[in-house]
């Protein structure tokens, strides 16, 4: 069976007006996601994870350009679609949830109008039926008294409720793929747990594929089947989540996993990663991680490592770990 989403050497670059400066925000990323699976894309700020998500939806800002690669969704290359065709796909087949729910809800429209909107646009549903469906959707995201809530406005909801409403909008047209960009960063811990469980239930009920864009390895451990680790625009490691937590191959992934505090070994010293995340407009030569890498060899300083694929499609970009 062909995967639901397959990226082949996808590159997205930000180009300055004169064309003199190029930032390779996403640089030759290859990955695949099966229907119903959950993929975690982890990385620090500036690693290109949000640009990757926006590339898939083709919602990039004007300064960004596609710089090659293929993006197959259900066997069709999204990069060859016209803007009109993309509009048919967005919200209908691929939906997205953003980090800040207040910014994704219009304060001037009722909750019902906003949850019903994708149904009215994509399914040409009449207003009354779309509202009924919106009420049912609110119920499915565990909003109590949905009949009254549909008539209310975003400011009348708490943060957790807003995020669940945005989730209801995302699944309104029963998409095949839902991309969630840091969906729980603004939520409190117990509300985050509620929301993650809800997403998992929705995924089970609708057979959704999920992409989680996050910097939080805990979310990856809890939710994901596969994980893609990004560093400075490149995919440095990709594989099954257990494989990567048990035996990370890339030194960056390994260091990241070692640097998070755990309950089991409280008050022992953390293994910190030295240095700073790199500036994408002035990347070091060779492998972008080499200035911070404990295993760096001479070759890393001059030449960027290629992707090597190991057992069970566990891929890594590293001269040392890949050979």
């Amino acid at each position: 069976m062909a995967p639901l989403l397959e990226l082949r050497n996808l590159s997205t670059h930000y180009v300055s007006q004169s064309g003199a400066r190029v930032v390779k925000a996403v640089d030759s990323v290859t990955l695949a996601l099966e229907a119903g699976e959950t993929l975690g894309v982890v990385g620090e700020s500036g690693s290109g994870k949000t640009t990757l998500a926006l590339s898939i939806l083709r919602l990039l800002p004007p300064a960004a350009q596609n710089a090659g690669g293929e993006m197959l969704f259900d066997g069709e290359d999204l990069l060859t679609k016209s803007p009109e065709e993309m509009r048919q796909i967005r919200g209908k087949k691929i939906a997205m949830i953003l980090q800040d729910p207040m910014a994704s809800l219009n304060p001037l429209f009722t909750i019902g109008d906003q949850v019903a909107e994708p149904l009215r646009v994509h399914e040409s549903m009449p207003r009354k039926r779309a509202w009924e469906r919106a009420t049912a959707l609110l119920k499915s995201v565990r909003i109590t008294a949905p009949e009254t809530r549909v008539k209310e406005y975003p400011h009348q909801m708490s943060g957790g409720m807003r995020q669940r409403i945005v989730g209801a909008m995302g699944i309104a047209c029963e998409p095949r793929l839902l991309i969630a960009d840091e969906p729980t960063t603004s939520l409190d811990l117990t509300i985050q747990a509620q929301y993650l469980n809800l997403l998992r239930d929705l995924q089970r009920e609708h057979g959704l594929a999920l992409i989680f864009i996050t910097h939080n390895l805990g979310i990856v451990a809890k939710m994901c089947d596969r994980v893609a680790v990004m560093y400075a625009g490149r995919l440095v490691e990709f594989g099954a989540v257990r494989k990567i937590f048990d035996a990370p191959r890339h030194p960056y992934t390994r260091a990241l996993l070692q640097s998070i505090p755990r309950f089991a070994d409280a008050r022992t010293r953390l293994t910190a990663i030295g240095g700073q995340p790199p500036d994408l407009s002035a990347l070091p030569l060779g492998c972008a991680f080499h200035p911070r890498c404990p295993d760096a060899i001479d070759r890393c300083r001059g030449e960027a490592p290629p992707e090597t694929v190991g057992a069970s499609a566990h891929s890594v970009r590293c001269w040392v770990a890949g050979s």
């Binding site: 409190d188 117990t190 469980n197 451990a221 937590f245 640097s259 998070i260 953390l270 990663i273 700073q276």
Partner: protein, 320 residues
């Protein structure tokens, strides 16, 4: 062990007023009768969700808010009875590092001036002595000497947080309030800053009041953990016990909601229904009863007092 700071029944209510003549409409009970101690060289971690009163507690300790009632004792002396000189000494001894190092550093001042400003305000130091102190502080937080001549925008988030820490240390404080000191930083940088804070504590004998959302980080940093819910402490005690063998139903749910560090790590599933109620109109009895999975009749009418059980104190009728 020397007791540094002791809070007894500390309370802060923010009155709500409306209309032209400021008719009182009740009060937000941000902090509602909490007691804790901070000892020299130790860390008290405070956890809880938004609105539980963590930040108000920090402000009370920093002397930025006056308590409505209750007392803060510093080395045995009541803070509200101190004369202005002693109060000034208290403010020197208690410093803070805030969450966002992009907001807490003046973009128009050079790093050296930022770090030295508290020192110049409080002490008659000049010239070579000042430079010596500055270099010592930069070295303590792991920044190069040349950093002093640069502006904050020339540094990354982690380095800026180091600058903020150096500024907090410039007056050799006894207690540093750390309000979410790593949550604005990149994941790969957090461990650096947490390690730095631990090293500084060991080297300088600092006490920390550590406030954070990240429970694993709090467990990692703290000797004692206080769990707050709607302005009250529901459980306080030895950090490892609170983190790994919590007793209060809220603490258990909170730590159960923490994310696993490995896909095979199964945490107890306690998903609370509902959300934190408004501190303007908290539930009667135990504040947690509307969401509590083990609620009993008396919880609805009667709040529980903190009781000592082994190394922790718990405020819950289940343990009476």
């Amino acid at each position: 062990m020397s007791l540094l700071l002791e809070a007894v029944e500390l309370t802060k209510h923010f009155p709500l007023k409306s209309g032209l003549f400021g008719k009182s409409k009740g009060a937000v009970r941000a902090v509602d009768g909490i007691s804790f101690t901070v000892e020299k060289g130790r860390t008290l971690g405070v956890v809880g969700e938004s609105g539980c009163g963590k930040t108000t507690t920090a402000k009370l300790v920093l002397g930025l808010e006056e308590p409505t009632s209750g007392t803060l004792r510093v080395n045995g002396a009541d803070l509200s009875n101190l004369d202005s000189g002693a109060r000034r000494r208290y403010r020197r001894a208690v410093q803070a590092v805030f969450q966002d190092p992009y907001a807490s550093l003046n973009p128009r001042m050079r790093v050296g001036s930022i770090i030295m400003e508290p020192l110049i305000t409080h002490e008659p130091v000049h010239g070579a002595e000042l430079t010596k102190r500055l270099h010592r502080l930069l070295e303590l937080v792991g920044l190069p000497t040349k950093a002093a001549d640069l502006f904050p925008h020339e540094f990354s988030g982690g380095q800026r947080q180091r600058i903020a820490i150096a500024r907090a240390l410039s007056l050799s404080p006894a207690l540093v309030v750390l309000d979410e000191p790593v949550s604005a930083l990149d994941v790969s940088i957090r461990a650096q800053i947490l390690n730095l804070l631990r090293d500084l504590q060991a080297e300088l004998g600092l006490a920390y009041l550590f406030i954070a959302h990240d429970l694993a980080a709090v467990a990692h940093m703290s000797h004692t953990i206080a769990v707050m819910y709607l302005g009250r402490i529901v459980e306080i005690g030895e950090a490892n016990t609170v983190a790994n063998a919590a007793r209060h139903p809220y603490t258990r749910a909170l730590f159960a909601a923490a994310l696993p560090s490995h896909p095979d790590e199964k945490r107890e599933e306690i998903v609370l229904s509902g959300e934190v109620p408004s501190p303007l109109n908290p539930p009667t009895g135990c504040h947690f009863h509307p969401r509590c999975p083990s609620v009993m009749d008396r919880c609805r009418s009667e709040g529980a007092k903190l009781r000592q059980i082994e190394t922790v104190q718990v405020a819950c009728h289940l343990y009476e």
